[in-house]
């Protein structure tokens, strides 16, 4: 052990922190533009008639979803893994030149793939499968990036000093395996140029699935992308960062294990709730509903475990903005994992399906839980990877309240809009004639769409404050010693 290094090596973590922030800005900026387009259609011509092809809603929408899912969130997952992974396994990346090289290769290929995604989506090259829009050459590049990450996970585990894998590592492994399985099966496609002997563009493909099968595979994938992209890795983050920042070990390690297996078993069966009242078999719809309701238990198991971790230390929520971010994140996790099952109940779904309430649900989950937790993770990591104090605590507090207000405006306006839509669509007179036409709902919803856009804008402003705070931390934050980094993160005024 004489060659044992004294420090962890955060080179790869830093690179992915950078893409987390940049792609977060891109994804959320496009999201805000889309929200304003829905409220004010003339925004579709943002850059004039000539460029309308590139700025209209339909061209930008996949750019928003893919930038926040595969750009911001996945970068956040990679960044936190390359930080947490080393620490809980007590092994430095510097100890393995091979893993370090593979990590850098993973980052390089990731950036190239992101560039290809942005260009192809803007150019309108897409498979038209929601959340799986990339054509096959990009899919293959994504698989390589993912496999490189897997090699790094299991490589680090292979050379670890800590015998037991901390609960966060279990969640990262589940993320890796879950996404790999989902991505491969849902993106199965036939490249038309090669299959037909030279017809069409070389990069085009058609899905291997059609009709109801396509819907089933798509929502098995789509819902579990929420599971293994927006839930499992984010739980991995909070299980590490909240105990570390608060100085309190997780309240019940046993509960964390039980919730893990509960989540793994239950989540995969819940996707059918996206297809209620559609052409898929009735038993499958019922199964989707039932498993969605059961899903409350493992989700709340983790969330309550996090809140109980703060037992006796609640004053930290008032004094530390970083703890505030994490506690609000876990509260939103509880909230959206209760809201989701409610929407999955058939009678509620009869009103909620296809309405803005679903959009509201997604956004209280991602803005309140995913983004808050990833930002909190980066705030905790920044002083440790840059060896500098967080630039401004008061800016963090202001950001927290601006963004919280943004999320609340977003989901409350979408609740009202969604339920109004649902009720108007089904209203009929005594002869069964529909009471409203589609345009009646559009007129009524306009104020709520405006409120949603303002909520999104507030959130984006908060994200810019976050980016600025991290940039200033990196460049001018007060330099700190190792002993200041044991638990609570050092913050400047």
């Amino acid at each position: 052990m004489e060659n044992r290094p004294l420090e962890y090596d955060y080179t790869v973590a830093k690179l992915f922190m950078f893409t987390t922030i940049v792609l977060g800005i891109v994804g959320m900026l496009v999201g805000v533009i889309l929200a304003f387009q829905l409220a004010f259609p003339e925004v579709n011509l943002l850059l004039g008639e000539g460029l309308a092809e590139y700025t209209n809603f339909s061209r930008l929408r996949p750019l928003h979803t893919d930038a926040v899912i595969f750009g911001f969130t996945v970068s956040g997952i990679f960044a936190t893994w390359y930080y947490i992974g080393q620490r809980v396994l007590k092994v430095s990346m510097a100890e393995s030149p091979l893993l370090m090289a593979l990590g850098k290769l993973q980052f390089t290929l990731y950036v190239v793939t992101v560039a290809a995604v942005v260009v192809s989506l803007l150019a309108g090259v897409t498979t038209s499968k929601e959340y799986a829009e990339f054509e096959w050459p990009i899919d293959i590049a994504i698989v390589v990036v993912w496999v490189l990450w897997g090699i790094n996970i299991f490589g680090l585990i292979g050379i670890r000093r800590e015998k037991s894998l901390y609960i966060s590592v279990w969640y990262y492994i589940a993320t890796f395996l879950g996404v790999a399985m989902l991505y491969l099966f849902n993106n199965m496609a036939v490249p038309t140029y090669f299959a037909s002997g030279g017809i069409g563009d070389w990069y085009h493909s058609v899905s291997m699935y059609a009709g109801t099968n396509d819907a089933l595979v798509q929502w098995w994938y789509g819902h579990n992308a929420v599971a293994f992209g927006f839930t499992v890795p984010i739980v991995a983050m909070i299980y590490y960062f909240l105990p570390k920042e608060s100085g309190q070990a997780v309240y019940s390690y046993k509960l964390s294990l039980l919730s893990f297996w509960g989540l793994m078993f239950v989540y995969l069966w819940a996707g059918g709730h996206h297809l209620l009242f559609s052409t898929v078999p009735d038993w499958m719809q019922t199964m989707g509903s039932v498993f969605s309701v059961v899903l409350i238990l493992p989700s709340w198991g983790s969330a309550i475990n996090m809140l109980l971790t703060m037992k006796g230390e609640w004053q930290q929520v008032a004094s530390s903005p970083l703890i505030k971010f994490m506690i609000l994140a876990s509260t939103f996790y509880m909230f959206s994992t209760l809201e989701g099952p409610i929407q999955a109940i058939k009678s509620v779904n009869a009103i909620a399906h296809f309405t803005d309430w679903i959009v509201g649900h997604v956004h209280d989950g991602v803005l309140g839980w995913v983004v808050f937790m990833i930002m909190a993770s980066l705030f905790h990591m920044a002083p440790r990877v840059f060896k500098r104090e967080i630039y401004s605590k008061s800016m963090m507090n202001t950001q927290f309240w601006i963004q919280t207000l943004g999320v609340i405006l977003y989901f409350t306006s979408m609740w009202i809009a969604g339920i109004t839509q649902g009720m108007m669509w089904r209203a009929h007179d005594e002869f069964g004639n529909l009471a409203y036409s589609f345009i009646d709902t559009v007129t009524v919803l306009h104020p709520y769409y405006t409120i949603r856009a303002i909520g999104g804008l507030l959130y984006l402003i908060g994200f810019f404050m976050f980016a600025y705070n991290i940039y200033k931390t990196m460049t001018v934050g007060r330099r700190v010693e190792e002993n200041e980094l044991q638990t609570a993160s050092p913050m400047g005024a």
């Binding site: 620490r87 430095s92 015998k163 590490y240 570390k244 019940s252 390690y253």
Partner: protein, 72 residues
């Protein structure tokens, strides 16, 4: 017995089995702690004492290394 009846029995026994597995796992976690086989709660400290120079909560012993090598 028609398919619907089979499904009903299948559904009931599967649910009973899963409930048994769930409670069995909880029993396993608590009983292994009570019998002193494993202290699960100490693993929570892996996150707190995570400097590269900290002593691991459970070290990979030399014996383990040798066993792993033999297995490989």
């Amino acid at each position: 017995m028609d398919i619907a009846e089979l499904q009903a029995y299948g559904y009931f026994f599967l649910t009973a089995f899963l409930v048994f597995v769930l409670y069995g796992y909880i029993y396993h976690l608590y009983s292994s702690e009570r019998k002193g086989k494993r202290d699960y709660e100490k693993y929570g400290n892996i996150a707190l004492n995570d400097e590269v120079t900290d002593k691991p909560v459970e070290e990979i012993s030399k014996k383990d290394d040798e066993t792993l090598k033999k297995e490989a």
